[in-house]
Subunit: 282 residues, 4 copies
């Protein structure tokens, strides 16, 4: 088996040798190791991939690691089997560029994921789900039906054993209840270079300010709007010749590329979150 292990703990001496030794003793070969220390915060981070050809299992690893190294170093950790594809729900509204982009990547085998369903507060993009043969749920959302809609979302997420959610230009605030159940597991794409132009209509705001570069930001969703841990950002130059419509068109290309990159990093367990920031192993 190929096992990916993510660890973070207070920084201290001897962690790397202890962990690599542990894996070595269990018959594992470390094929990848990346580590990071935030010296200011005194936190240690590590991502390893180990290969075992001796029948050692994830279950064994989990139980043995839990009883030995994890408590010794006060670690928070996860293990993931490479062959397991995470289950990703897509939430959309009316814009189709991110949806088309993710689905065509999925369809080409570029994304190591399952997509159990697409959910939308509007019916408009149902036909794309149909084009790609993926179940589509229309869950309208308004002040009046808020609790009902939320309940339906949670029911679908549970039923389909969803591991994480991608907001592919879902123009609706996700409720606290959903966020609480999917901590650092909801990926949003915001159409600005955060923290500039958080909130609604960022392209309009960028145009008004007369910036020479616009951006897009993919981040994990937290309670505070557009303020969650940033996974990926990219930018594109603009000039006085571009109208707001041009900003939006250029932005679409940014949004889809930046979101896709963030989704791939998440799928490969290359992101770790702490202090509202991310460590991205590449």
């Amino acid at each position: 088996m190929n096992l990916t292990v993510l660890i973070h703990c207070p920084d201290q001496k001897g962690i790397i040798s202890a962990v690599t030794n542990f894996l070595h003793e269990k018959g594992g070969n470390v094929v990848y190791l990346d580590q990071h220390v935030d010296k200011q915060a005194a936190i240690f981070f590590m991502r390893l991939e180990a290969e075992f050809e001796n029948g050692y299992t994830q279950q064994l690893f989990d139980s043995e690691f839990k009883d030995t190294l994890a408590p010794r170093f006060n670690m928070k950790w996860q293990s993931h089997l490479k062959k397991i594809k995470p289950r990703m729900a897509l939430f959309v509204s009316k814009y189709n560029h991110c949806l088309y982009d993710l689905l065509s990547r999925y369809h080409s085998g570029e994304l190591e994921a399952e997509i159990p369903f697409i959910l939308s507060n509007h019916k408009d993009l149902g036909f794309i789900a149909e084009q790609f043969g993926i179940p589509f749920y229309h869950v309208p959302f308004s002040k009046e039906n808020r609790e009902e809609a939320e309940a339906e979302q949670l029911k679908l997420l549970k039923e389909h054993k969803v591991d994480f959610i991608v907001l592919a230009r879902y123009m609706q605030i996700v409720s606290s209840t959903v966020i609480a159940q999917y901590p650092n597991k909801i990926i949003n794409i915001h159409h600005s270079f955060l923290p500039a132009f958080a909130g609604a209509k960022p392209y309009h705001a960028a145009f008004k300010r007369g910036v020479k570069i616009i951006g897009a930001t993919s981040h994990y969703v937290t309670e505070e709007l557009d303020a969650g841990p940033i996974i990926e950002q990219d930018v594109v130059p603009v000039s006085h010749t571009h109208t707001i419509k041009d900003f939006i068109a250029k932005g679409r290309d940014l949004e889809k590329i930046v979101l896709a990159r963030a989704v791939k990093l998440h799928l490969k367990h290359k992101t770790m979150v702490y202090n509202n920031k991310t460590v991205i192993f590449t």
Copy 2:
């Protein structure tokens, strides 16, 4: 002579043909024309370069244009002789990277400018002025001597017939009086991707927010801090592996390049300002 003309006025029909005709009739050959219309604001902008080989002068152009086309189209306009080098004062504090960069460009003939003096609120960089043989004035600035210092600055600017001021990491707020006398003629470099992280310590703020890209912004100075018309911006990727010190080191390269680009655009009369934004002709 080679004359550069900058024009802006309410958008209306026939401006381009009227102006190009005017120049044609005076014996000028238009060797460059770039124009822009901000449709939302209904403002027309144009930059022309015309060559005259018939003895026609800037003085003649100015007086004839002023009496005919300018009032007809309600134009604001300026003309500049290509052979005249603008006079640029450099204001610095303690950081030397922008100063070294501008001076080495100046020294190589890359900047078509005169540098009558370097002014600083600290003595630290005086030796660089000396290295390059440029007069250096030490004008300390504090709450107590504010008015005096301001008066001295203005006196130096007048005496040396300064056309515009470059704040090459001048870590001191320029007073309203100076700004009022040099409207859209003071160029600052701010070490963030504005409007993100305006104000003090932008690299620290960027680090805390966990951004994946940092930037620098060159802008004209207005009363409101870090909120003036943006001339040029650029960015560089960062990651969790970078400390604040790394941000600062990467930022230095951005700052000097972005500031130098803005200075060159200003020197070539390629910038126009309106509604707190710029039109940049390239």
Copy 3:
């Protein structure tokens, strides 16, 4: 009507004022003018957009311009009505990312084009044509059926009144006959930063050379392989951590974005070709 006019001719005095005057006299309002002079080659280029509200037609313009200014300045020129959507044929093989990208843009109304058909030397992508309801022609191509295949391509292009062809990762050399009939009207995407790594397997070659940046290039197809006039290029950083497979995955995103930008420039008549180079009006 809104008329776009592209002109190039030997550089000489008075062209801009002559053309803008001409349009003014016919009742047109020049809403956009961009011009360029290649001083080395002594060639003048201009792109104008003019609006007429007086019933003046493209036919009138064409015949009057042809008899007056065009011969006087020895101009090569074209005029295009803004409301006419060019007809674009898509040629593909087995890779689907550029095809999906163009079709989703088309479907969202982002491309002002008609797509009469998709042609491929393989059957693999027929289902995508079907997904989007666009006719699909399978025209296999081999040494043996070369002439036949060529004839069929030309027949389809004629029948469907195709204005230009987009090779959206068409892994087959287009024949000289087709190129001759569509000069500067066949757009290719090459998966390298040309002129580096022309020809087959550019990602493999880039990997072997150990470059730190990879690119994609969109260009007009000429007789010489990968040597036609470049329309658009972009790049993305890579490192020693990336395998050839990673290069290919990163490249896919570049290819689709760069090709789409080139297609949009062509659709808006913003490209002019001379000396195997392009002038791109933006």
Copy 4:
């Protein structure tokens, strides 16, 4: 002491745990570890930084590592004390931008290096060496005095105990003898995006080809011109509006930034070379 260790060897199981154990046993704390496997070539690379507070020395490490792990895994390796500043010679000709840039960084403490001397085949830049108080040697180079000049270069390099050489736009081919004595220790800056436009006058060639992006490449010098292992590359967009002179001006900024980045990577022992490629630890 803080010790940086660079290792490469045939890929095999257990290397990481063996090395981290070794350091742990000697009382070292691994504060940084980055590792890479080129699977195609089956080579393992690692860079570690370890801190020792127990009086353990580089000499001890070198002798103990040499007798134990190094032979067991068939390793090639080096160790470097963080506090030792490498000695860097600068070779220049007539262009001053890279020289000014490196010297101003050096002067600000940004480069952890000693600069024992500047050498040039021309006298032009001697005054800059003087500005910064660094010895300057004028060693003319021609077909006639080739062997003499080479001998003088080697003599100076030896006398000043130079660790590596930076060709800061040294417009002269370095002789095989010098290259042989400084393998992967001569850093050049080439003013194109290699492998495009190797050899002389790359900006002219790029202009002729009509590229939309130009670049600069820093690489280690090998026998074959402009074909050595690439350390760093960067690019900047250009358009039809730019002349060759503009390419050169834009290129200057690229060259100095790219060269400085490469020099810093080398100074921090973050580069490893194999198969004419580099592994760059960041």
